[in-house]
Structure formats: C-alpha cells, structure tokens
Symmetry: C2
Amino acid sequence: MPRPDRMKLGTFVYTYGFHPASWMHPGSDVGAANSFAHMLNVARLSEAAKFDFMFMADSPAAAVGDPEALARQPNKMNRFEPLTLISALAVATERLGLVATASTSYYEPYNLARIFASIDHLSGGRACWNVVTSDHDETGYNFNRRGLDPHAVRYARAREFVDVCFGLWDSFDDDALLLDRERGIYHDPRKLRALDHVGEHFQVRGPLNIASTPQGRPVIAQAGGSEAGIALAAETAEIVFGLASDIGRSRVFYATLKARMAAFGRDPDGLKVMPGVVVNVGRTRAEARAKVDFMLERLHPDVGRLMLSEFLEADLRGVPLDAPLPEDRLPAAPKGSRALFEELTAFVRSGRTVGELIRLYAEKHTGNGITGTAADVADVMEEWFETRAADGFILMLPTLPASLQDFTELVVPELRRRGLFRDEYEGMTLRENLGVPRPRGRAG
Amino acid sequence: MPRPDRMKLGTFVYTYGFHPASWMHPGSDVGAANSFAHMLNVARLSEAAKFDFMFMADSPAAAVGDPEALARQPNKMNRFEPLTLISALAVATERLGLVATASTSYYEPYNLARIFASIDHLSGGRACWNVVTSDHDETGYNFNRRGLDPHAVRYARAREFVDVCFGLWDSFDDDALLLDRERGIYHDPRKLRALDHVGEHFQVRGPLNIASTPQGRPVIAQAGGSEAGIALAAETAEIVFGLASDIGRSRVFYATLKARMAAFGRDPDGLKVMPGVVVNVGRTRAEARAKVDFMLERLHPDVGRLMLSEFLEADLRGVPLDAPLPEDRLPAAPKGSRALFEELTAFVRSGRTVGELIRLYAEKHTGNGITGTAADVADVMEEWFETRAADGFILMLPTLPASLQDFTELVVPELRRRGLFRDEYEGMTLRENLGVPRPRGRAG
Ligand SMILES: Cc1cc2nc3c(=O)[nH]c(=O)nc-3n(C[C@H](O)[C@H](O)[C@H](O)COP(=O)(O)O)c2cc1C
Ligand SMILES: Cc1cc2nc3c(=O)[nH]c(=O)nc-3n(C[C@H](O)[C@H](O)[C@H](O)COP(=O)(O)O)c2cc1C
C-alpha cells in the first residue's frame, strides 16, 4: 500500500556539520560558527531543494571536558544562539521552516512564548520550537543549579511550560484585531483574555502582548526518547525526531506513538515522525566511502577519546591507542543506543585496540547511517517511508555545506523521480507544508 | 566653547509612534504592530539619515486597565518581541545601531548574554542592550511573582546580572580563535575560561558558548532615573536616556553623572547622555501646531482617562469630562515628573474640567517637547548640546513613519548645516559611531 503523501525533509544544523571534524572540511568557511553568510547558505540550499525546514540544535552551555580536545570541537564551544539566528533567517528566506531548540528547564514561558510568536510573525508562519529539557549537567551550572534537575522534574516542568505557552499563544483570538480607525477601536476587547495560570512551576497571568500569529501557534517538535518524552510528544508535538537506526524498532515506535495520540483526540497524521539519518552520498559507492574515510582521517585521537568518554561515561583521557580498553572501563548499561553499546562491548571483548574502537564508534556515530549512491540512499529512505518507520527524515549531514550540496544534487532528484518528495512547496506556512492542522483560534 | 564632536541621534520605537493615538494616523500601516515591513521602513529611514541607532522600548506584559480603553492603545497590547525583531533587522540593515530593551528582573543572564552576543555577530557589531529592571506590577504577574520585586532588590539583581554578562562576554579572548586546520586546533584553550560566578542572585559557571563579538561587548544603555539607576549607569552604561524637560536640571544631571564615572576609572566621553525629546516639526510653526492638534483630536477620552489614571495613580474610569477633578483624587507625591505634576495640580485647583486636564496632560506628555520649524527645533537641540545638557537625543516621534520622515527631511539638513550632525557614519560598529571605547579582550 503506497502512501499518499510525500516524505518530509529537514536539515539538521550543527554549525560545521554533524561530524566532529566537520570544521576541518576544506569546503566550508573556517569561520562559519560566527558567520551569518554560512547559515544563510545552508538555509538557501535547503529552501531551493524545497525542504520543510532547517533545524538548529542547541545547548545553553559549552561542553565540559579535556580542554585540548574541546579546542578541536568548535561545534560544542562556539555557536549562534538559535532564537536570534532563526529570527534573522526569517526575513532572509521565504518558505523554509525554521526550527530552534530551546530548553524548558532554563527559560520562562512568558519570554519564550513571546519570542516564538514574534518569529512566527517575522517569518509569515514558519516558526517551530524544538522542546527539550536539556540532558547535560553543564547546562544546570549556568542557571543557578548544581547540574540537571531530576528527569521527572524536568519533564513535569516541560509539560506545564508547553501548556502555558499554548494558553499565551491563544490570548488574542484570530479575529480579535478590528483595526478600525473610524471608530478608534484596534481590537475587540472580548477577544483578548488573560490566562491566569497557577501551576506547580509557573504562575502566569497573561495575556501575551502580541496578536495571534500566522500559524496560530508555532509548530512543536520533540526529540526525547524516554517515556515522559514520548508522552509529551503524543500530546503536544507535530514533529518527533529520533536517532533510531533499526527499521523494525522504528516501525514499532512509529505505530506506538501514533496510537497514543488518539487518547488526546489527535489525528495521527498531525504528527510527523522524522528519524535523524547520517547520509554520505557519492556518484559511486567508492566515492561515498571515500568521503567517510576523508573525514575519519581528520578525527584527532583526543576528540575520539572525548566522544567515547561521553558515550561510555568514563574518563578515557590519555588511554593508549594501541592497547585494548580494560574491560572495567565499560559501564553496566548504555546511556545512548543499546545496539551500538552492545556492538562496542563485543568489540572491546574481542581484544581490539582503543584506536580501533574510536574508529568504529566514530563511524557508527557519524559516518554510518547511509553510505552509497543516490539510489542506495533513496532505497533505504523509501523503505522506511513506505513501511511506516518514518514520515520523513532529518538529515544529519557530516559536513556543511558540502554534504548538503551532495544530498540536494544527487538524492533529491532521485527521490522526486520516485514520487517520494515534493517539487514545490504546498503552502506558505510550515504547518501547510508539513500538512499538520492549524490550531483554531478561539471564537469570540 | 563649541563642542568638538557631533550630537548622537536615535529613533525611539513604540510601534506606531509615541502618541497614544498614533495608530490612527493615516500615514501608517494600520497593521504595523505585526509587520516587519513597517519596522524595516523605520530602520531604513533612520539609517539613511545616519542616525546612531533605533531603540526598541519594551515591557514583558500587556498593559492592565479598562479593557475598552486598552482596545484603543495597541502600542501597549500588541508588539514585536524586541530581541527577535532586532535580530531580523541586523541582517536587513548595515550601519544602524540596534537597541533592544530587556529586563534583568525576568531573564537569566546566560540566556541574555548569548542572545546579545549572537546579535552582535549577526549585525557586525551594532547590538545594544537597554538594561531595565521593569517598573510595572503587571510584569511580575507574568513571571511567578505578585507584582514587582522591591526597587532595591531589582537593582541589586540588575547590577549582578550585568556583571555576569560582562564576565560571560569575556569568556573567549579576542584572539582566542586560531582556526588552524593544519594542526586541527580551532581555539587556544588558554584563551577561553569559565566564569565561576557565585553571587547573591546568580550562580553561573560559564564559559559562554559563543566567541568574542565585534564590539567585545554590546553597548549598554540605561534609563533609570533613581539613585540606583544612576549608579548603575555611571559604572556600566554607554548611553543614558532621560525624560528631562528642563535644560537647567539636565545640565546638572549631565555633569553629575559624568563626574561619577571617574570613581570607576571611566572617561566621561565614554557615556552619552541622550534625553528623550518629542518633536513636531513643520515647514511653518502653524503647520507644526496643526500636526499636534490633528493627533490630539484623535485621542479618545477613555484613553485620556487611562493615561491620567496611570500618571496620578488613581482610577479615573467614568469620571465626567465636563466637571473638575475632585481634589482628593490627586496623589500627595508624583510618580513621574515633578514639574508636570505641579502644573497639573495647579490646573486642577484652578477649576478646569477633566476634559481640559486630559488635553493638557496629553499635550505635555506627547505633543509638547519641541513644536515648530526646523530652525526652532535645531535651536533647542543646539542649545542643549552646546551647553552640555545632552550629548544627543532620542527622538520620541509622535507617529511612525510620518514624524520620522518629517524630522529627517526638515531637521537633519538643518543640523548638518550647523555642523551639529554627521554626514556619514564614522565607523562600522555602534561603538565606533558613538565614539565609546571597545572593551579590551583579555590577553592570553
Ligand atoms: C535527533 C535528536 C536531536 C536532539 N537535539 C537536541 C538538542 O539540540 N538539544 C538538546 O538539549 N537535546 C537534544 N536532543 C535530546 C533530547 O531532546 C532529549 O533531551 C534527550 O533525548 C533526553 O530526553 P529523554 O530522557 O526523553 O530521552 C536531541 C535528540 C535527538 C534524538
Ligand atoms: C526614555 C526612557 C525610556 C524608557 N524605556 C523603558 C522601556 O522600554 N522599558 C522599561 O521597562 N522601562 C523603560 N524606562 C523606565 C526605566 O528604565 C526605569 O525602569 C524606570 O525609570 C524606573 O527606574 P528608576 O527607579 O531607576 O527610575 C524608560 C525610561 C526612560 C526615561
């Protein structure tokens, strides 16, 4: 049963690209982290290809760890603040959705609701908020806390935070503005109301001091994989990102998530499941493979150790590269992907060296995903899409703009040839392009 | 003794203009409150005239009061969020300084420091933060509080907040980025440092996750008139706004403020005193006067009552227009300007009606300032400037863009003819144009 709609695509933007050595790629501006021109270039490539959106990942903290290794990882140390960046992109693009990550743990809902409403006006209805609770201790240290709040507290706050924002975005009815100069009446006072929210985490009276926006509310994206994260998504999100690498598990996740929406009276089509996928495409398989190797060669061992340290939650500074990792450095349970954890554990037990382990991890983490020709890449995407493991993909491109150029030149035409991706935007707003409903402004 | 430098000018932006009936002016887009085109037009007019900056006033709350009257005052109810707005303007203008108001009472310093650093990068060094502590109870109700925190608490928090931001903006030395792809080293780890701030209101570890900006730090503006506000300005600000209407008092204020800077080792030229001034200019005095009257006629009595209610801190809803105000409605002490308060009090005691009182207040508040020909306006500005009552002015124009167009067409050429205002921008950054020093990035 072929699916009636087309797949959704978005560009994941981690300044220089998703690969930890991406800043060393000769095809990018080495000063890109502070260059609007770089970001605009990525946006325009995405828009020219008719992508749904560009997605700004974020963390309100510089990474913490070995300073020498961090000096080799600008993506984690020097970046635009995403809300300001997408505000600027809003007036420099026309159709592309603009997604910014913002943490419910460290903002106030009145400020953030205003910010997103304002961006929705600036962009003519293309704003999207990626709701995160943050998951690194170093963020808490920048906000009067000793590390992260407990997971349950973060999600309870997040749930209430989103509710407050929904209420604030509905302050003005869609038809509240009368703009009647004859009678001197700007808005209908019966179509504006306070919120008077009193909750566990927030007391917010409202109303919001900005009129209802083109999308009614910005699109909500969500990326948390925990039970609490999934519950939040089922109730409130219109886009869900995942890092799932296994198609079988992804189909289950997809079906489960969509089924859970019914409890909230939501149509399953109102939420798009978009797993992240790392794509290395070439005109031949060898060319694609060479691109992976090119970047792997640029990965410094200190960066590899730092990445592994994070994944394994162990301090691997200075461990020799040419000897196996002592087994007692392995944690009992994985922090991230279980499948990858098991693969790495088996690899360690088989006596391979730390250098080999880093290479395996880096490849799995950043160079894996789909590597091959346009047909290879489209095959995988098509299978995921047609068998309802995904409604679309968020492209975690190893280098920017190089890998994005490769994708739009090689893969997008192939997807179009197969009828899997749009030729032209369907609408003006992100909601229209995604095909998710606009919340109805309350009637007066 | 003529002054060697030129005066500084900025456009004060309260969406439709400073006059409470400004939205009804036929020369503006009635939908301007949510229109980037309107804001861009104001920015471009200001930039074409070589103004130093455009200033976004702000309050994180809709006004509270008689709903029918507020429905006639969109400036207080529906506005862009200023940080997002100036981010967008940053990439749509080239030389104009961009000032956004943000309250230290309701933000977190890590978020706000990132935002302004990001805008400084986006704009190539034209960001300015107007530091306010907020002065309306309704703001507190949107942020978990029962009204405003006490004045002293707000200013103590503000002082610490600004300090934390300074520290965060200095996280990366100016020469920290090596961008060395050969050796794979992006930044010099010795030129990046945490802040480890532990204070009464904030604990912030840092470092900021964005490199040092074109201006080193955004320009700091300040508008508080209390002792605490002046102390903050003397120590940290580069622009001070005031509402002073009396040239004698303004000279004293000017001299006092500049003298106080010495205690902090600051050069008095590093701070520009810029009083707000309401300008109505015409080709003749009669034309200018007619502009004032045109707007006064559009002022609805409910709006007049609301404005007076705020100024007098009394609820004047429904008081008859054709009878005098009962004296017991007058407060013992003024909230705002003492001179205006005394004038109004005398007016009430002389038996004038509420209708006349509203008209007087509205004119003093919004139609007064300078009304006349370009020569009249320039005369006043010149006297203030030459006698050191002001380093420049923030133009509180009654209607936008109409009054701004009038000012740039009529007054700016007159100021230039007298050698009082620049013909061309002196530099690329706001600091260069203002002539205030760039903070030195720490040496490694
Ligand atoms: C594709 C993807 C992108 C993500 N991007 C961010 C991000 O930019 N910022 C962030 O703080 N967390 C990000 N996350 C993490 C999640 O939002 C979430 O905080 C984390 O998974 C922990 O939540 P959980 O316990 O519900 O899984 C991302 C996760 C995925 C799968
Ligand atoms: C010209 C001018 C503009 C101001 N703009 C704002 C503003 O946009 N937002 C705000 O909250 N306060 C604004 N204020 C108020 C002051 O910043 C300050 O909060 C108020 O004067 C109370 O502080 P104080 O007690 O030190 O006087 C402005 C004041 C002046 C004189």
